[in-house]
Symmetry: C2
Amino acid sequence: MNHPLFSKHEDTLHKALDAIETRGFWSPFAEMPSPKVYGESANAEGEAAFRAHLNRTFEIDQPANGNTVGSEASPFGLPLGIRYPQANPAALIDAAAIAQRAWRDAGPTAWIGVSLEILARLNRASFEIGYAVMHTTGQAFMMAFQAGGPHAQDRALEAVAYAWDQLRRIPANAHWEKPQGKNPPLAMRKHFTVVPRGTGLVLGCCTFPTWNGYPGLFADLATGNTVIVKPHPGAILPLAITVRIAREVLREAGFDPNVVTLLATGPNDGEQVQQLALRPEIKLIDFTGSTQNGTWLERHAHQAHVFTEKAGVNQIVIDSVDDIQAAARNIAFSLALYSGQMCTAPQNIYVPRSGIQTAQGAMPFDAVAQALATAVEKMLADPAKAVELLGAIQNDGVMQRIDAARKLGRILVDSRAIAHPAFANARVRTPLVLQLDAATDTAQFTQEWFGPVSFVIATDSTGQSLDLAARTAAEHGALTLSVYSTDDSVIEAAHEASLRGGVALSINLTGSVFVNQSAAFSDFHGTGANPAANAALTDAAFVANRFRIVQSRMHVEPKTVAA
Amino acid sequence: MNHPLFSKHEDTLHKALDAIETRGFWSPFAEMPSPKVYGESANAEGEAAFRAHLNRTFEIDQPANGNTVGSEASPFGLPLGIRYPQANPAALIDAAAIAQRAWRDAGPTAWIGVSLEILARLNRASFEIGYAVMHTTGQAFMMAFQAGGPHAQDRALEAVAYAWDQLRRIPANAHWEKPQGKNPPLAMRKHFTVVPRGTGLVLGCCTFPTWNGYPGLFADLATGNTVIVKPHPGAILPLAITVRIAREVLREAGFDPNVVTLLATGPNDGEQVQQLALRPEIKLIDFTGSTQNGTWLERHAHQAHVFTEKAGVNQIVIDSVDDIQAAARNIAFSLALYSGQMCTAPQNIYVPRSGIQTAQGAMPFDAVAQALATAVEKMLADPAKAVELLGAIQNDGVMQRIDAARKLGRILVDSRAIAHPAFANARVRTPLVLQLDAATDTAQFTQEWFGPVSFVIATDSTGQSLDLAARTAAEHGALTLSVYSTDDSVIEAAHEASLRGGVALSINLTGSVFVNQSAAFSDFHGTGANPAANAALTDAAFVANRFRIVQSRMHVEPKTVAA
């Protein structure tokens, strides 16, 4: 019998299943922060709920050791002053073990139903979470609302749908009957139980705590696992709110809320987290962050199935264009959006040193570089509009990286500080665009310069551009590849380069779809086929290893008589 | 358009898809070596084909370095004298890379169609392969034919069906259209390409080279990967024949046969194989063998997704029975079959020291132990019948293990040599059954004694038996668990123990289904939920990580007009 929460949300689930099958556009969560959808007072209430978290200890009734932890600072300069109850990882492991049994026995429709109910509640908290994302990550509000709220919820729902798509094809029971010639057939009744792997550990990042954290969290929950959520020390609040809502739903549904717990940590707790990641009870790890930490997990947490999203070098190949202005505007937007602090933001823009063809004729390399530079400058000319696009710089590491990058080559557009009209102390920086050369600067541009740093790179030819793009993606990782060409054979070669590099390809984006955006239910985020990520959001491989099947069998009477 | 070989075998594929969904009995490959099915002369021709391999160099036209390798010896005492062309692993990697491009581009229906055609050809070679399995593994002919031929083909087909079940749900194209209020919708055409991971490495074992080797081989092929097959040095021939047939089919279908190659090695080539397993081109490894080697792969081959089947301790819990003779006969068969050289053979038989209940009343521990001992002795009383059940001992390690085990406790049934009526030098040994005690002998019985070694273990109670079974499975691994009880609450407790131990449960087997048998399309072999195996044969998790999806997207005209 289906769990009541499964029945409650079954219509949404079936629409999600249709969506992942056809991969057209679909979302149940409105992406616009519209009063008509979310309620007239939703924005004000959400902001108030966010502000109520400031300068106090976050309330969450889970195992705690009596201390508090927390040192988040808003990139917009707002003092946060939020403390979180500290938990001993061992206590969370123990609590998860106690919670596990009844959760495991509840079975797939309970896991799916509870997950979907949590998502419905998270959607209602989109403004509160949006402000929390804004003031931890530095995203401007609209982006924080969308990426941190409905788009993250979409990605979570997608993971739940993929989980159910696998779970539903495992029969609970089977009748096996093997003919034995003239003797009566052998007959057995078999029972198949889906069992979770154990406890999952979700390691969040500081730029997209919910968008990158939800898929693992919900894939774990939807397959019956318990989960410890360990946010990045710089972006705890969005996941803390999430965990609290998840616990409320679990408790209301009659489960031990310790199915999901929060592990809030400080910046010096890395070793403690590493030790936790090696605990035998931790069977699943979902990580978004640095290549160093992700690779450490992949190489040491042998007891767990480890899903990682790490650094990468995203690339654009410009071969030829109809309208360079439209292409440059689209690219400039991608460079500026959240100051390039997206794992999907482009970094390397390859242009043949001999120039490109446009509808208006040949365009020299320098003119292409200038068109890109001008587009960036024009897009950010008005500070009030610019800050809504740029947001703020999440951390000092990004600030230092901008300074370090200035020395790499000729500056096409320098990064500059912008005063935020609403937040005097906001850390706002425009993109830095440099000119490099494929012949001499490989070491520089084949590493990730996370943040508002990009390179216009002179190549010998589009062939070299594509080869560089494929090799860089394959060897150093990439989540996105973009190509501009009016030549079908180049598009075909770009397609082959994307297969070699194992990276998603966008072709001739000149409108309002941007290479750094990926739409849940339609675009796969990451491929698992290059070092930037060992899994995609979301495909069957992202969920199929999160549960196991344990069977039993016993003799029963045959249904047919002997021949 | 579907590949012609896909269309040719589509009916079989659809039946296999139905079977894995319902998990009832089904097989397209006749398990009886019947002349009516396989042809009147099939047996004689198959044996002749096998004998034609002896004392010569195996012909296979793949990259070779001019040397030969091979030191297989028949456990039945037959000199084999087969040499195999030696290949440098680097040459096979290079050849796979060249073969990969066209194979990748052929796409899913070609991968599935070619895999199914290879299976159809393997089925026709079942006698040749059966004799090859017999004289490398030591299995008696009937088992070698069944397990090495049709049952292995079933497991392979199951893997192909699971692969297709995942591949078929990825649309090749999608139309994505996002409403933009009063503006025209955003519309994109998306294309999804399934790309293989790269080159798979299949590391075979010496007891079930085809049954354990085929699932990985065919899961790799069916998802577009190239494969290097590295048989155990003691059982090369069955996989060499397999690879040759696979290459014939590939060549006939217009592909580079180096999509599948053979790496024949000698007993001292372990380091070379380890180096190969760490090559960056090797993205998938399927291993069956020792815990030591399997764990080494899991901990070092970080570039690959590693599937392992390793050691385990299979267990039987006897609580109460209607008919002890029927239970004892069933257990004795499981102990004797292929001299316990099955990864599924029971080792630990837990019996309460206070005895058990039967339909005839209480039965003391010693009487239960004696009933088991007597059943083993009676079953093997006639040497001519016994050898058809026992087969021969595969290697000296197993012989030495029998001797070492004799010292562990009181001998209930000693292992003895039997003269094989047909093969004077066959290495035939009956099972050794010892009595141990749960209070004192844990260290002995919680490790695997691979071969004809089993223990009747006195426990405090059925509760302790089940707890031991669950803990031993969870900590040391297990592929099978069997329970005998007339009490529903004990069956329920055994079910819970099986979930805790992550091990398949058989209940009250007293007829002609045996705990060490698992039927493709119905029984999952292994669970991945305990240390005996990190994957099951076969579920979605076994195939979903063997391929990736790379997408492209470009703007197109919207299909709907603006609102």
